[in-house]
Symmetry: C2
Subunit: 144 residues, 2 copies
DNA sequence: TATTTTTTCGAGTAATATTATAGATTATAT
DNA sequence: ATATAATCTATAATATTACTCGAAAAAATA
């Protein structure tokens, strides 16, 4: 399951992606419009900022804005920051690999073998889909 | 992440798949060979039995055996029993659908739209892969 | 029929992860 | 100076996962 943390992160990035030419937006503003607990959002935005996706400014008139083109922010990167691995088993993870507790012989593990395929299929979609795509999909869905 | 419950379920089914022509195997035997906590495995096997995948027999000489051809037991069915939904968001689930807490307008949700695609890609693999396939993959991996 | 074996059942607990909150601190603008 | 708004550290609340306990029911066999 996708954590709320990740959903909130995506939603915040979408909001900021729609706010590109405007002055930075405050946490409290984002929290209100998307109905995200403010203090929780605070942590999430900080993570995204530390990962280089957001620009932040303190003090009056401060807030957050995207540090990159929304076309260049892909779901896979966000999810790795907020949820960690994409793979469903740690032994099939590219960026967060570690042995499964239960596993005796990884090299011949049929489960791992299948979930490497699942990971690749998931990864393909998530690394092709950007914040800009999400915004585009939403407007497309409205018009349908 | 795949729960241990699901991994244990798959492992148990694989063991039983290799035991097809033998008399039923006891919980304790499966638990030992696969190093699964016995009481936990007990619950898991019961779920699989109630879902019709296993045959069980009480008393001396009793135990568990597969109720179907290992070629006809697919990962997707096992996972739905042990972990529930395949989709990463409840609103994209076929068998366990429910609204996301956070969601205001499902019909135009770009997140949902992407994760329906992810679900489909995952589903394809999991509904094509059987216990027999896992066993086959393992022997193939050994010979490589 | 008594005993042993093994699954079944209902409940409970422990460990861990997720979600959320609190309060003080630091930076910036006016 | 003062107000604004992000940052930091810690902790509380809740949910989920992993696992345990003890007794009951069913079947075999001696």
């Amino acid at each position: 399951m996708l954590s709320k943390k990740t959903k909130y992160a995506i939603k915040a990035l979408v909001v900021l992606g729609k706010n590109m030419d405007q002055p930075p937006m405050q946490i409290s503003k984002i929290a209100e419009t998307e109905r995200i607990p403010k203090k929780f959002l605070e942590q999430i935005l900080l993570d995204l900022r530390n990962a280089g996706f957001l620009y932040s400014k303190k003090g009056a008139g401060g807030g957050y804005s995207l540090n990159r083109d929304p076309k260049e922010i892909f779901l896979v990167s966000i999810m790795r920051i907020t949820d960690g691995p994409i793979a469903m088993v740690p032994c099939a993870s590219l960026n967060f690999y570690h042995k499964c507790d239960e596993c005796h012989q990884e090299s011949t593990c049929g489960i791992r073998d299948v979930f490497v395929d699942v990971r690749d299929a998931t990864l393909k979609i998530l690394s092709e889909t950007s914040i800009a795509d999400i915004i585009k999909r939403e407007t497309t869905l409205i018009s349908v």
